[in-house]
Amino acid sequence: MTYSARRTRWLRALTAAALVLFVLALLMDFLYVGPEKEQGEAQRIFYVHLGSFLGAFISFGVSVLTGVMYLLRRDARWDVLSLSGVEMGLGFSGITILTGMAWAKPIWQTWWTWEPRLTSVAIMWLAYAAYMMLRAGIEDPEQRQRFAAVYSVLAFGSVVFTIIIVRVRPDTIHPVIAGPTQADPTGSFEVTGRIRDTLLFNLFVFAVITVALLWHRVRLENLARLVEQRKLQALTGHWGD
């Protein structure tokens, strides 16, 4: 398998677009929206916080859908996508957690608190870290892909848990931007016109970045598997197809 020049050009164009959009998004975060009236400069990190969570949600969503597709079709290409989704999701949710901690220090006066959403997002991250451990522990490729797909379905439960927890638990202090909240959140703010513009643009940009990175990761994985295959062929002397 080799990649056509045409697809490579498309990927390069998408990557360049993602970079330009990200710079624009940062400019908006720092220049277009003014400091928030209660939280000041600290609120600016919120756009990256929610943007990266959207990236994580898309990635984990891709991983569970393609995991199910792998179980139904047994095509290794679905497994490549599922693995890429988990890796991207781990990175993005890592950014979500770190930016959240940076925001919580000035607003909540602490880096970390055992609050329902923080706890559930930590569980989510650990579940996907366990997914990587499972893959590393199984030798047989077919079995590794099958078990990974099964576990990607189980791990997605923690993503759903993270999203619904602040809406069912009344004692959370984590702010909720959209939808109903029964909570008494600490650090909520009023969504003004400029804040909404910046937020929507950031969400769009992070979606583009996620797609571009997923594409790169899938391509890398395909090439890595191709190299494995070629090595095996060179060792056994069979060049077959």
Partner: protein, 234 residues
């Protein structure tokens, strides 16, 4: 026999196959006595370690009892689940079970019933042990119900995940890493419900957790039945 792939009809009804597999595990345990005794000894040691580490007075014991209960059940359960599946794998009897003309779900529920029995025995004896050592009235119907529901959810996800981790390198280390994040919603709900009941709080404080626990059990059972076929297909 006719040619072509044809789905074989199971030779015995599913519930009899389930009971047969569970009974096999119980008989093996009655003869070998390695699983439950190891879990019970581990439980005893864990409670001792907790008592030493936390240096609890009467009030602190009441607050810590639910946490000690479920951490101990989870770790003892992991010990038992790992052993139960790796014994089948090492002796090659898993292949024999897979060859048996029974539904795969019967195999899953058979192992689940056996595992659940062992984990439940351990958990109920732990309740008695904590009642004595922590001087609390823990053997009460509501708490037994929470223990039952918690053990069902934990053992269901545990049996499914242990059937995967048994094939891995370093399987003893992998099982807790894989199982705990998945089972945590069950454990959290169980700890909260038990804690509220131990502290004699009104039903508003434990009923939502009990409902969450029951819902999680149903979800885990459904997910495990749907996914188990894909775990054991070779």
């Amino acid at each position: 026999m006719s040619a072509g792939p044809r789905k074989l009809r199971p030779l015995m009804p599913t519930w009899r196959a389930v009971l047969a597999i569970a009974w096999k595990d119980v008989r093996a345990e009655l003869r070998g006595r390695e699983l439950v005794s190891a879990m019970l000894l581990f439980t005893l040691i864990t409670v001792l370690v907790f008592s030493l580490a936390l240096e609890l007075d009467a009030n602190a014991r009441r607050d810590a009892a639910a946490g000690v209960l479920w951490v101990t059940v989870a770790f003892a359960g992991i010990l038992g689940l790992g052993r139960s599946l790796s014994a089948e794998y090492d002796r090659g009897s898993l292949d024999a079970l897979l060859l048996a003309p029974i539904a795969r779900s019967a195999l899953f529920f058979g192992k689940l019933v056996g595992n659940l029995l062992f984990v439940l025995i351990t958990a109920l004896l732990l309740l008695v042990l904590l009642s004595v050592l922590f001087n609390l009235a823990l053997v009460q119907p509501l708490l037994v119900l929470v223990v039952l529901l918690g053990c069902i959810g934990f053992t269901t996800s545990g049996t499914l995940i242990a059937s995967m981790s048994v094939h891995a390198r370093a399987r003893e280390a992998l099982l807790p890493v894989l199982l705990l994040p998945v089972a945590l919603p069950v454990l959290i709900a169980a700890v909260r419900a038990s804690g509220a009941i131990i502290n004699d709080l009104p039903s508003d404080d434990w009923l939502p957790w009990l409902e969450l626990l029951a819902a999680a059990d149903v979800l885990f059972l459904a997910a495990a039945v749907a996914l188990f076929d894909y775990v054991v297909e070779e």
